[in-house]
């Protein structure tokens, strides 16, 4: 019996040693802060403030624009400078509220006051999570209050905290597990109060032994909570891989984790739930890992949402070598950036600066059908044949080959000895198939 894991997966260079030992540093923003209205999956939020308004830290400045949407909370006090489209990390222009920071950090009344979660009803907890603007902070950005509202609470028997952090280079969740483990366990207890039949499991890859040891020690008197060490393998932290590793249950693209009795939340999401429910503090900050071989001093920062990436990079000492590629997130699933003048959002996790771009350095050659993509695919589909369909622009064959089960983890493109852009082609085809499905 080995460690809990899934079939397939790859072992990219981890790069975590660059920043893993660096305690999280508080970073205060200098100039204006930008709050995009769309930092989550779902409808954009509707602004509640206009140019010239005074705002406080903790104030809801935009409210959820639908059921699947999320509030936006101001992280500083100051004056609304504009409500206008601004560039975000993925390159898009998104309508945003721009706040001039007055540097006083005045807060709304009651911010930070203690609250006893056991005295709250389920509805009250869900409302607090919704008001706090919490979304999946692992990167997906799915509104958390929606996730915490499955059809039947009683059918949920697992609440899984995703502490795998399988994405190379990222160390923000690791630092949180080491520095704020009580908050993590507190948040998990809040979630467990919603699901009376559930037990809580914290899944952590075994390349983080200190985090495993610390949390295991802290939960030893918690009958409903356990720590599950996971094999270090990418994409162990993918939702479907994690659910399988912990429970042995399988979730496909047409299911929600709740259909398999599971609620999965990232470490930072669970801590944010704790802060919102027990400390009356809505989501106003992110932990950002600034890393990569081009950065002078790789480290982890506690950053107020809306802070400009350029300020964070500066705080990490800037570049020591000219970067060729800068990634919002990690190298397996992050987005390459062409402009650093963008704000930190709820789904930001890291700024990875590479002095060499491995992708540009290796030109694709013909497929030799070695089958490596097939053996690493966590969805157990056949990338080599999907690629042939993608090259023919054959959406029908692509769908028949279960292309929609692809989780876009990048393992196939990583392992391909011919350096073919498999994942990249699949992302395009999946958009085509999804668009065709909507037409029907």
């Amino acid at each position: 019996m080995g460690l809990a894991t899934f079939k397939g997966g790859v072992h990219p260079y981890e790069g975590k040693e660059l920043s893993a030992s660096k305690p999280v540093q508080m970073l205060m923003p200098k100039g204006e802060l930008v709050f995009p209205l769309s930092q989550h999956i779902g409808a954009p939020a509707n602004p509640l403030v206009k140019k010239g308004d005074q705002v406080l830290a903790g104030q809801i400045i935009a409210e959820a624009g639908g059921f699947i949407s999320a509030n936006v909370i101001c992280s500083v006090s100051g004056t609304v400078k504009a409500v206008e489209p601004r560039r975000v990390a993925n390159g898009a222009m998104v309508n945003s509220i721009v706040v001039e920071n007055d540097g006083e950090y005045r807060t709304i009344e009651g911010l930070g006051s203690d609250r006893d979660y056991t005295a709250l009803s389920k509805e009250e907890i869900r409302q607090i999570v919704k008001d706090a603007g919490i979304v999946g902070l692992g990167g997906a950005g799915f509104p958390t209050h929606v996730k915490l509202t499955p059809k039947e609470d009683a059918k949920i028997d697992y609440v899984i905290v995703n502490g795998a952090e399988c994405e190379p280079y990222l160390t923000s969740d690791y630092r949180l597990m080491l520095e704020e483990p009580e908050k993590l366990i507190g948040g998990l207890k809040v979630v467990l109060q919603l699901f009376e039949n559930a037990k809580g499991v914290i899944g952590i890859e075994d390349n983080k032994p200190e985090a495993i040891a610390k949390l295991t020690e802290l939960v030893k008197n918690e009958p409903k909570i356990s720590v599950c060490p996971l094999k270090t393998k990418y994409p162990q932290g993918g939702e479907r891989s994690l659910i399988y590793a912990v429970t042995g249950r399988k979730v496909n693209s047409s299911m929600l984790p709740a259909d398999a009795g599971c609620i999965v939340d990232n470490v930072d999401t669970v801590i944010s739930i704790y802060m919102a429910v027990c400390k009356t503090t809505p989501l106003m900050r992110k932990i950002i890992t600034v890393t990569g071989d081009a950065v002078a001093e790789p480290q982890n920062f506690h950053v107020k949402l809306g802070t400009n990436y350029e300020e964070i990079l500066e705080a990490a000492g800037g570049f020591k070598t000219e970067p060729e590629k800068i990634i919002n997130g990690g190298p397996m699933m992050g987005q390459a950036m062409f402009d650093l003048h963008v704000p930190v959002m709820k789904n930001s996790s890291a700024l990875t600066c590479m002095s060499k771009d491995e992708v540009a350095a290796s030109a694709p050659t013909p497929c030799i059908r070695c089958g490596r993509c097939v053996s690493v695919c966590p969805s157990n589909i056949v990338p080599v044949l999907m690629m042939k369909a993608a090259e023919r622009n054959d959406a029908e064959s692509f769908e028949k080959l279960n292309g929609m089960e692809c989780v876009e983890c990048g393992s196939c493109a990583f392992i391909c000895p011919a350096k073919r852009p498999l994942t990249q082609a699949f992302k395009e085809m999946r958009k085509v198939v999804a668009a065709n499905r909507r037409k029907k």
Binding site: D357, V359, K427
Partner: protein
């Protein structure tokens, strides 16, 4: 921050293994068998290997140059084709035969169908079969002056077993028998096979199932004789074919179940050809036929997607 940054879709990192690494690993794995062949059959066989590899690489270069395609000779695939073909030649073969075979393998079997990854048969094996049919006399003459085998005494163990004669198992494992340059020494071939397995160039699935199926087949239909069965496995091109040719990425199924079926199919075909065929050997033809069934096997054995097993 004056320079333009690279922007592309994730993932942004790549594994170190390249097509070139894989091809040269296969070539390295054939070195023990090549060296044994040269040591046993004489320096002329070195010439055969060099000439065949040169013919393959050169014809790829000339074709790609002539067709204004990117030159791909450095990827190592033509070298591997040349080595496999050369090691399938009898030790005293006139040089023009493997050279012709090399040109046939690269131009007709590989490039005409679209180059690397597009051939529907293993190029080296297709060329060997072409030569076997066209120049049967030369291709079946396993005499070797250095080893002291002439065309009369130099019956291969397979031919001897066909004729009902006893064979020396120990000599077959070491390789002190007549045969093609690279197929004779089981030990040398297994060293190469282990190298490929350790380097994860190949999976043991196809070769072990292939060899296992041959063993079961000849045991059942060859008179329930264990010594005969082991001799059949060590004789001829089975070990060479199973590890170096049946595992060819391009012409074998990529699905796990497909590889099992493919291995069994090759084993049964080899058994039939060896026991009842026109020639004592049947590995090459079995693999070539298996190549043709590959797309069908693959289509029938596509895996069920994660979480959709019940559907």
């Amino acid at each position: 921050m004056n320079n333009l940054l690279h922007v592309s879709s994730s993932p942004h990192v790549r594994d170190k293994v390249t097509t070139k690494n894989l091809m040269f690993d296969v070539a390295i794995a054939m070195i023990p068998a090549s060296l044994y062949g040269i040591w046993q059959f004489g320096i002329y066989t070195a010439l055969v290997i060099v000439a065949t590899v040169a013919a393959c690489v050169l014809s790829e270069y000339v074709w790609e140059k002539g067709m204004h395609k990117p030159i791909t000779i450095t990827d190592g695939s033509a070298v591997v084709t040349g080595m496999i073909l050369a090691l399938n030649m009898p030790p005293e073969i006139p040089l023009w035969i493997p050279v012709l075979g090399g040109v046939f393998a690269i131009i007709v079997v590989k490039q005409l169908f679209g180059g690397l990854g597009q051939n529907f048969m293993n190029p080296a094996l297709a060329a060997r079969c072409f030569l076997l049919i066209s120049f049967a006399g030369f291709m079946n003459n396993f005499s070797s002056a250095k080893l002291g085998f002439d065309s009369v005494s130099g019956a291969t163990p397979l031919a001897a077993m066909r004729a009902g004669n006893e064979v020396d198992l120990a000599a077959m494992i070491v390789g002190k028998i007549p045969g093609t340059i690279g197929e004779v020494s089981v030990i040398a071939l297994l060293i190469g096979a282990v190298y490929m397995l350790v380097r994860k160039v190949i999976s043991p699935r196809i070769p072990l199932i292939y060899i296992g199926t041959v063993a079961v087949f000849v045991f059942l239909f060859g008179g329930f004789d264990l010594t005969y069965t082991i001799s059949q496995i060590c004789a001829g091109g089975l070990i060479f074919g199973a590890f170096f040719m049946a595992t060819d990425y391009v012409t074998s199924p990529i699905t796990k179940k497909g590889q099992i079926i493919y291995g069994i199919l090759l084993g049964v075909l080899t058994g039939i050809f060896r026991l009842w065929g026109g020639s004592p050997e049947g590995v090459s033809y079995a693999i070539i036929l298996g190549n043709l069934f590959m797309p069908m096997i693959e289509k029938m054995t596509l895996p069920k997607a994660f979480g959709k097993e019940g559907k």
